[in-house]
Each structure stands twice: as structure tokens, then as C-alpha cells.
């Protein structure tokens, strides 16, 4: 008998180059333990994350998406993270109408020094998506 594999969430993480990606490095350097379910994509700014990236990720097999930004006031480009927050809040309302739970799409702030917070946010994200189970988007809706 083939053992049934436990569900492992697939999560896409968009990390800002200046804060959160450095925060992830810090977590790695400090050997913080966190689940390996997040595939990290480094972007120059959380404001660069087009809502299309989120929808495409969810439509193409991701069970969740996390965007990590600089803390408010710390953005390298002044207001990219504000834009990211405003888009995130609006897109959450859209996703709710499209039947996607809000736990599957998270925005949080991780600075370059917050390795511990990075590990904690990633752990929380993975566990909340694990609790929801896999996301099934009808195959035919995928371009």
C-alpha cells in the first residue's frame, strides 16, 4: 500500500530586496528554524508586486501567497510599501468574493534585522494554510 502523503502547502513569498529579503538572510544566518514551504521571489520593492502575480500564483498551484515589506516609513522608495498595503487590502476584498480565504494571502512587515520575526511569520503562514488544506482552482480557469 502506498502511504497517503500529508498535505504540504505550497506558498509563494514575494520579499522586498531592502528589508524582508535581508531579514530572511538574517534568519538563515542565525539558523532560525522555519518550514521550507515558501518559495521566495525577491522583488526590488513590495510595491512592485502586481496583483496579477498573486492571482496567477493562486491559479497555478500555490495554496497561499505572502508579501513581506519594509515597515511603514522605512520603504527604500518612500511609499512602495504603502501601495502594497493598499493593494493587499483591496485584493483581499476581491479574493473573498472569489471564495479564497484571507489566510491564503498575507502581507506583513519584516525589517533587515528581524530574522526571528521572519521565521515566526513564515511559520504562522504555513500553519494557517496547512489548516485550510489545498486550494483547488478549476483547471479550465487557468490561462
Amino acid at each position: 500500500m502506498i502511504p497517503v502523503k500529508a498535505f504540504e502547502p505550497k506558498i509563494i513569498g514575494f520579499l522586498c530586496n531592502w528589508c524582508s529579503y535581508a531579514g530572511a538572510d538574517k534568519a538563515g544566518g542565525a539558523q532560525e528554524a522555519y518550514p521550507p514551504n515558501v518559495q521566495v521571489i525577491r522583488v526590488m520593492c513590495s510595491g512592485r508586486v502586481d496583483p496579477q502575480f498573486i492571482l496567477s500564483s493562486l491559479a497555478n498551484g500555490a495554496d497561499g501567497v505572502i508579501v513581506l515589506a519594509c515597515h511603514p516609513g522605512d520603504c527604500h522608495y518612500k511609499e512602495g510599501n504603502c501601495r502594497a498595503l493598499q493593494r493587499h487590502s483591496m485584493l483581499l476584498l476581491l479574493l473573498e468574493q472569489l471564495g479564497i480565504e484571507k489566510e491564503r494571502y498575507r502581507l506583513d512587515y519584516v525589517s533587515a534585522g528581524e530574522g526571528e520575526k521572519f521565521a515566526q511569520v513564515i511559520t504562522e503562514m504555513v500553519e494557517s494554510v496547512r489548516a485550510l488544506g489545498p486550494l483547488s482552482v478549476a483547471q479550465e480557469s487557468i490561462d
Binding site: 496579477q52 491559479a59 504603502c82 485584493l91 476584498l93 468574493q97 472569489l98 471564495g99 479550465e140
Partner: protein, 339 residues
Amino acid sequence: MHQKPKLAVYWAASCGGCEIAVVNLHEKILDVDAALDFMFCPCLMDTKKKDIEALPDRAIAVTLFNGALRTEENVEMAHLLRKKSQILIAFGSCAKGGCIPALANFTTKEELLNSVYRDNPSVDNPAAIIPSGTTTFPEGDMHLPALLGRVRHLAQEVDVDYYIPGCPPESHQIWNVIETILSGDLPPKGRTIGCGTLTVCDDCDRTKEEKRIPAFRRTYEFYPDPKTCLLEQGLLCMGIATRNGCGAPCTKANMPCTGCYGAPEGIPDQGAKMVAALGSIMDIGDTTGLSEEAIAGKVDEFLKTIPDYAGLFYKYSLASSTLGGRVGMGGEQNGTHHN
């Protein structure tokens, strides 16, 4: 005798507006008639399905197929007309992206039928009957085609040669397409024609300046200034994320664009682009010294003005959007998928 090429106009799940747009060619309809044998259009003439079935394959030069695919009958006609046509055009927003009928994809088929036939306050249906299947009458059996699990657009079912956007397509653009077809100089297959490639803002002659919106407003709340960009006045004008070519008649009439020409060239999802654009022009005011929670709260408060973002942004394109509708309800009953 030389036979004129045949033109068909068919409606699936649609309102009839696309046919009105064809008739709105006014006297040019005579030129259409002079050049083409307008031989099938259930809205305007009496040709029957069996007459189409009797034609040899590819006998129709051009079919303008409007309407989304809601029922098995729509699917059957899509296949029949694909087989009988040389050029099949998804005509109008329903055939191109699902349009209004596809808003049903925000709910399940069961929820839809319940709200139409059972829970609607204006419906008196004590036996809770939902019309479906075959019903026997003294005169014989009546068969209703089944609803698909989800509303689909034409290209999800059959091979489509061209797309013409619009709800309905503007008549001058229909004429442009007919002229192009008659010229024989056809664009590459799969193109969206009878439109531009940029956004409605390009057609709109209002004054556009720095965009910072202190609040979203709705059309019933105030009379917008007729010269200034409607978006700058707080109205959620979809022109920034909508393909041009219509000539911006709505903004000329002081109404915001609702997005009927769909996403501009190369953009897969109109809603995503609206979120991207609005997210960068919302002005929630000074946030100095506020906690992260308080800032998020201010954004949520700002967004409360609009009750239905998804319905607003995907009014014309839900079936062809990235997610296609509410997830988890699947395309399970769409057994006739041939792509």
C-alpha cells in the same frame, strides 16, 4: 450566378444588444447586404437551426457569435457554427469574456437557481419547482437544455478566430471589421479586432493631472465636473484598465467607464490592473506615528465606500479572468470540454 459570402449573427446567453449594435450600422446595413448574404440571425430573421445543419461545412464565410455559454444548447450551437463557418468571431463582451451572464460565476449553480426560482421575494412558487429536464404536456414533451456548472466564454469551448470587444461593440467598429474582412487583408488569427490596443484614457479628452484620491465616490453622490478626469474626482472609472477603441462615449456623457472593452492588449486580468492602479492613487492621509494596525484600519475604512469590488472590476470579464469565478465550485458539470 456569383454567390455572396454568407454572414451569420448568432446569440447565445445574451441580451440582444449586440444585434442592436449591428442594426445601428443604419444605412450601412445596406452595404453589408450588398456585399454579404446576411442569412442567419434568430433575432432578426426566420432561418432555423435545421437550415444551418443542412449547409455544407465551412459554408458560412463569417459568423459573429455573441453571448456567453450558459446552457448545453449554447454549447451545441457554438460547435455547429464553428463547423459551418470559415471565420468564427467572438462578438461582444459575453462571447469574449462572459460579461454580465458570467457574474453568476460568483455563486454556485444551485445558489443561482434558488435565488431565481425560490428565495426571490417576487416569486410565488409554493411547490419550489425549478424548471429543468423534460416536462410532459398534452401537446407533447418539452425539453429544457441543462445549465452548465459555470458560465463560459466562447473560446473555452471552440476555436475562435477573432474577438471583438464591447457591450455592445460600437457600430463604427463593427463596420471597420466588416470592411477589413471584405478587403481580404485579415489580421493574424487570435487577435482582438475592432478596437485599439491602449486604454480608454487615450480616447478620453478630459484633463488629466496628478492622481491622489482622498475618497472613492459613487455616481449618485454628486454631479462630476465635465472637464476633469473622473478618476481624479473619486469615481472608479475603469478607463485606466480598459481597452480603447470605443471613443469614450461614457466619459463624454459624464459617466465613468465601466470597462466593457475588457483589458488592454497583453493584460490578462482587468481586475488585477484596477487594484494595482487604485492602490497607488488612494490617499489615506497622514499616517505619521500610527501603528501598523491603525494604518491598515485606515485603509479598510477608505475601502468601505464600494460594496462590490469584484463585481465592479469583473463586470465584463469574469469568465476570462485569471480565476474565472469563485473557486472551489469548479467546472465540474462542464462535461463537454473539447479544447
